[in-house]
């Protein structure tokens, strides 16, 4: 019951975020020069023809009317019609959401799998050779641009070793997962270091507290101190960092999807913006905003699982 109330309060807090995102993307894209019809016709079109086409699409109405009409329809699930592809935006989104969600999931899982053991060990043995190496590698990890890392991985595993596919999404479910290995690894090589450093820092903090002294004095085994007591407390800041970065990843997916030619929402967004396909851009910003809000909600709920004190407010 208390979880339900928490969830609802979080959802209510998310509404103004959604409004702000859609309003901003609606206005921002209209301010950018260029429009879809002239781009498609490569400018070999007269002003009258363009005006006629836009009148047909209802794009000559005042901006406020267009925005409210969009919001009204979006509430019922109608995200509009793509100008360039002449298909409903919701259909295009449904077609392409799977690769993006899978990429986020695989990337996050890889990051956690890398970060947890390394972070814990580094915190357990601070200032040793292992710890120093980990810290240096982490800095390298987030300094390198991820599209470059992606290309290097492609070259190494895809071409030299011929172990993994270098682009595309694959046909069957198993195939999809194989195609996600390199993109997921690219994400993990950035996100992993972030998590390692956060986890290590918060664990060191917790390990220095009185509670841990007491536990040690009671003669509890080291692994139990680390695993149960220290880790549980260190997880909250780490989860926060993870949640913030996954939201960032939703936009980072755009670059990864481009490099690995993944047919997800990120590459669709790039296409939509290059062509100024306004309905598609708006529809996608709603979907991406909802995804980000959803991820943050999951993060908030998982705090509650780790530390029930959070539920009290």
């Amino acid at each position: 019951m208390v979880y339900l109330r928490y969830t609802i309060s979080r959802l209510v807090a998310a509404l103004p975020v959604l409004v702000a995102v859609t309003l901003f993307s609606f206005l921002a894209i209209k301010l950018v020069p260029g429009d879809p019809v002239r781009i498609m016709m490569r400018d070999r079109v007269s002003d009258e023809q363009v005006a006629a086409i836009y009148a047909k699409l209802g794009m000559d109405r005042p901006l406020v009317v267009q925005y409210l009409s969009f919001v009204g329809k979006a509430a019922t699930g109608d995200l509009g019609q793509s100008i360039i592809q002449n298909q409903p935006v919701s259909a295009l989104v449904t077609e392409r959401i799977a690769p993006t969600l899978t990429l986020l999931a695989v990337g996050t899982i890889f990051s956690i799998l890398i970060a947890l053991p390394i972070g814990i060990i580094a915190a357990a043995r601070p200032d040793t050779f292992f710890d120093q190496v980990v810290r240096v590698v982490c800095i390298l990890g987030f300094a390198m641009p991820h599209f470059w890392v992606g290309l290097l991985l492609m070259l190494a595993f895809g071409v030299q070793l011929r172990l993994l596919p270098i682009s595309g999404w694959g046909a069957s479910f198993g195939d999809h997962l194989v195609h996600m290995i390199l993109p997921g690894l690219t994400i993990a090589l950035f996100l992993g270091p972030v998590l390692i450093r956060t986890l290590r820092a918060s664990m060191l903090e917790v390990l220095a507290t009185d509670q841990i002294e007491v536990a040690r004095a009671r003669g509890l085994p080291a692994w139990r101190i680390l695993g149960k007591h220290a880790l549980r407390n260190a997880l909250i800041p780490t989860l926060t960092v993870l949640a913030v970065n996954i939201s960032w990843l939703v936009s980072g997916a755009v670059v990864i999807e481009s490099v690995f030619a993944l047919p997800g929402l990120g590459s669709l967004l790039i296409q939509a913006v290059s062509f100024r396909d306004y309905p598609l851009i708006q529809g996608l910003s709603v979907v991406l905003a909802v995804t980000t809000v959803g991820i943050n909600l999951i993060a908030d709920l998982s705090y509650a699982l780790v530390d029930r004190r959070v539920l009290r407010d």
Binding site: V45, Q49, V259
Partner: protein
């Protein structure tokens, strides 16, 4: 017993000799290696397969494999051949064209192609909101004459109508299927082309299957194409396409990054294709802005440009130094002399024009590294001639919007012709009164406009060629723009593929391609 065997033996021998002689000239299906899948890596993907929605090359090149117009671009892309129209007649005054529809052609669903379908399709194309409405501007009426004939009447003589009718946009579609649902048609067209759409995975790939009902026959008398399937993979990253070709995933990699072309050529089992195109890379110049409004400055820009150095540095030697303001389409003339690299002459012209130091802003689309390289080279060359040049970067569509409004002086860009008749592109680039103001150059030359008007109606090809040669000389030597390269198509493919061809109008001749 013995004699009977001998007779049998002789008879068998004779029979095999005779049948051998009979079938000697005819290839069997087994020899022709029918079937197989051709996998292509493309830099862009189809956004829609509807021929009547304005669209980009990603869509156009795919539509051209599935839908066909009355007249087809031929195997080189530079000529025309009968398509769904098997023949046509032109009235002596050049105003009436009667097309005879080819017998026995059916759509991919088996229904026959009728004159109503033809009239419907062509009329749809004349709608101003359709992509190439302007190419059909001189058309007065399109009518069904009888079940097998369609007549097109023109307002004025317009020889390029035949090329216009070979546009993908003039494809003949099945009226019933299109009217039932244009949206569904855009996903799976019902047309007459050599291939049909088997799967359309947006963002990923387009899979085409051979159309068993296609009207053109192969060497064995069975319908073309020889291929069983074509998979067009969407791979926007150039490096990924090269990697895909090298590790065997792709049979063909389109638009190779020029820096990697030599390495592909040197790889065993791979070949490099350099095919002529209808594209021209050039520097757009705005004749309405200072100092570009002065012809001497414009010519100085041309004289100051070291084309050979540019070719080597930016294009890795691929292409041809242009002698024209417009792409190398059918009426291009080799007789116009190219402006030579002469930095002294350039400096003299700048002095003669009393250049007052107004800087020239050269716009480059951000993210386009070869354009940026071109701009840097030109900036250095033009500054040596005494001009002040600044390079500015804008996102592609933003830069186009600025150019369209005339808010620019110079921009690195290109232009390409969609049809194999010089009229479309020459008119577009020089017609000040047109909606694009001479393709954003604000160039005005009444003599050129008059020459092109005459050329458009001239039925004699030699006389027509003379008009275009004259126009080429005048406009090029007016310093209309700074042409940089007649860029070819640079693709990589496996040497075992037979009859692979990228044609000049942009798409690929896949009908006779074979994979042994």
């Amino acid at each position: 017993m013995n004699s009977r065997n001998k007779l049998l033996g002789a008879f068998t021998a004779l029979a095999s000799i005779v049948s051998g002689l009979l079938f000697a000239g005819q290839a069997t299906s087994a020899d022709l290696h029918r079937g197989g899948t051709l996998t292509m890596g493309r830099p862009d993907e189809p956004l829609t397969l509807d021929p009547f929605i304005p669209s980009d090359n990603g869509s156009i090149f795919a539509i051209a494999q599935v839908c066909e117009p009355l007249i087809l671009a031929d195997k080189t892309g530079m000529g025309l051949e009968p398509g769904l129209a098997s023949s046509w007649t032109i009235s002596p005054d050049g105003l009436t064209y009667v097309f005879a529809l080819r017998d026995g052609v059916v759509f991919s669903d088996g229904k026959p192609v009728t004159a109503e379908d033809v009239v419907f399709s062509l009329t749809k194309q004349m709608d101003p909101s359709a992509s190439f409405g302007f190419a059909f501007e001189p058309v007065k009426a399109i009518e069904k004459t009888d079940d097998k004939h369609v007549t097109i009447t023109l307002k004025t003589p317009y020889v390029p109508i035949l090329s216009a009718l070979s546009l993908y946009a003039a494809s003949i579609v099945q009226k019933a299927a299109y009217e039932a649902s244009p949206e569904a048609f855009g996903l799976k067209p019902v047309c007459t082309g050599p291939f049909t759409v088997q799967a359309y995975d947006r963002g990923s790939q387009l899979v085409l299957a051979a159309n068993p009902k296609y009207w053109a026959k192969g060497e064995d008398g069975k319908p073309l194409p020889y291929l069983g399937k074509v998979v067009m993979k969407y791979m926007p990253d150039g490096n990924a396409r090269v990697l895909g070709l090298k590790n065997g995933d792709l049979d063909v990699a389109l638009q190779l990054p020029l820096s990697q072309a030599a390495s592909v050529k040197a790889t065993a089992g791979l070949a490099l294709e350099e095919a002529p195109s209808y594209a021209l890379d050039y520097i757009y110049l705005n004749h309405a802005k200072k100092p570009i409004d002065d012809k001497r400055i414009r010519l100085a820009l041309n004289y100051a440009t070291n084309h050979d150095a540019l070719m080597k540095a930016v294009y890795f030697g691929f292409g041809e130094v242009p002698n024209s303001f417009t792409p190398k389409v059918n009426y291009w003339s080799a007789n116009v002399k190219a402006i030579p690299y002469d930095p002294d002459k350039a400096a003299a012209l700048v002095k003669e024009a009393n250049y007052d130091g107004t800087p020239i802003e050269l716009i480059v689309s951000s993210g386009n590294s070869s354009h940026r390289q071109t701009a840097s080279i030109l900036q250095a060359a033009w500054q040596k001639a005494g001009l002040k040049v600044n390079i500015v970067q804008y996102e592609g569509a933003t830069a186009s919007a600025m150019v369209r409004k005339g808010e620019y002086q110079a921009r690195v860009g290109l232009i390409s012709s969609d049809i194999n008749d010089s009229d479309e592109i020459a008119t577009l680039q020089t017609e000040f009164a047109g909606s694009t103001h001479a393709f954003f150059s604000w160039y005005k030359n009444d003599e050129v406009t008059a020459l092109l008007n005459q050329a458009r109606g001239e039925l004699d090809t030699t006389k027509r060629a003379a008009f275009y040669e004259k126009v080429q000389g005048i406009v090029y030597n007016d310093g209309y723009n700074v042409p940089l390269n007649f860029v070819p198509f640079i693709n990589g493919y496996k040497t075992k593929i037979e009859n692979w061809q990228n044609i000049a109008v942009g798409w690929w001749w896949l009908k006779t391609t074979r994979i042994p």
